[in-house]
């Protein structure tokens, strides 16, 4: 773990007086990007890609199309699913019972892995991790954030989830159970957050704009 360590994350979670569409600029400080330094492994990627192309296994267009498909998998897709579940109880039931089919109704594909939808309730708060690697509902939310793959998160969230959640600015009441779900390569988890109070008159689109990535991982809750 190298890169920039900006510590303005302690205050930003309290900045809840406006809508929260997914916006990494707003939510999270940045690490240095890796486009401008040639490294051994970047060189390896270039070499392997060219060998695969020369052998006729892939084309440059295949790679480009796959990058674009991954770029299109963004937390806003999951937010649409959450907002639909908040406004349509029958959809919510289908989402929990048959997530693949329900998410397809919203126009998204969960991919080849099994997906389990975890509903947060006044009694239970769910949070997701992959202690062994980085398994994540990437077909619906995209590539996981750096911290999800970090030693600190993977090690600690299973043992001291409330402390970890507090680092994300999330305080779970003592009388609410916290359940930590450890993902596997074949089974991924998606948290259905609780709909915040005061959103009764909101449209599905307005609700979707409130739902950000971290709430679907379960490290934060959604606030209006």
């Amino acid at each position: 773990m190298s890169g920039d360590h900006h510590h303005h994350h302690h205050d930003h979670d309290h900045d809840h007086d406006h809508l929260h569409p997914y916006d990494p600029e707003h939510h999270h400080p940045h690490r240095a990007d890796q486009d401008d330094t040639m490294t051994y492994y970047r060189l390896m990627e270039e070499a392997v890609r060219e060998l695969m192309i020369e052998k006729g296994l892939v084309t440059p267009d295949d790679i480009r199309a796959e990058v674009e498909a991954m770029d299109a998998r963004v937390p806003a897709n999951g937010a649409k699913v959450v907002a639909r579940a908040w406004t349509d109880p029958e959809f919510k039931t289908r989402l929990i019972e048959t997530p693949k089919e329900a998410i397809a109704e919203v126009g998204h594909d969960i991919g080849p892995m099994r997906l389990v939808v975890l509903e947060n309730t006044p009694e239970v708060h769910n949070v997701v991790v992959c202690t062994l690697c980085s398994c994540y509902p990437r077909w619906i939310l995209g590539i996981p954030p750096d911290w999800y793959k970090s030693r600190s998160y993977r090690s600690r969230v299973v043992r001291e989830p409330r402390t970890v959640l507090r680092e994300f600015g999330t305080e779970i009441a003592d009388n609410r159970e916290v359940r930590v779900h450890d993902s596997t390569a074949d089974m991924r988890y998606f948290v259905l957050p609780m709909r915040p109070a005061g959103t009764e008159g909101m449209s599905e689109a307005e609700l979707a704009a409130l739902v950000h990535r971290d709430a679907m991982i379960g490290v934060t809750e959604v606030s209006a």
Binding site: M1, S2, G3, H5, H6, H28, P29, H30, R31, A32, D33, Q34, D35, T37, M38, T39, Y40, Y41, R42, L43, M44, E45, E46, A47, V48, R49, L51, K55, L57, V58, D62, I63, E66, V67, A69, M70, D71, V129, T131, L132, C133, S134, I143, P145, D146, W147, K149, S150, R151, S152, R154, S155, R156, V158, R159, V164, E167, F168, D182, A185
Partner: protein, 119 residues
């Protein structure tokens, strides 16, 4: 030599002590997205490897390499090794291609890990 098969792998870190979570994030570089794309193509379309093989290759990394390499460095390392094992290309072909690519970057090539990004 006796091996303790109940010992934790280096990647198996659930429940261990660790420091505060660094929530800094970086935008993925194009080369990182291309590693991801290659893996998706190799698993879903070409059926050249599985996610489990990707993990096996990552988990086989020596602990210091696992910790020092960035996330997609671990991926490309594992994907490349798997493709070599599968005979998709040979070590000689890879070596020659690496030299060819390297020659395109006269400013030199850093060892990796040091480029930042972590995880």
């Amino acid at each position: 030599m006796e091996r303790d098969f109940t010992a934790r792998g280096h990647h198996d870190m659930g429940g261990l002590d660790a420091g505060e979570i660094d929530r800094a994030e970086h935008d993925y570089a194009l080369w990182e997205k291309r590693v991801d794309a290659l893996m998706m193509l190799c698993t879903n379309r070409l059926k050249l490897m599985t996610v489990d093989q990707l993990r096996k290759g990552i988990e086989a990394l020596p602990p210091e390499a696992y910790d020092n390499m960035t996330y997609y460095e671990r991926w490309i390392s594992s994907v490349t090794n798997t493709l070599l094992e599968r005979g998709v290309f040979t070590a000689d072909e890879l070596g020659a291609k690496m030299e060819e690519v390297k020659a395109r970057y006269p400013d030199g090539v850093m060892p990796g890990g040091a480029a930042g990004g972590g995880c």
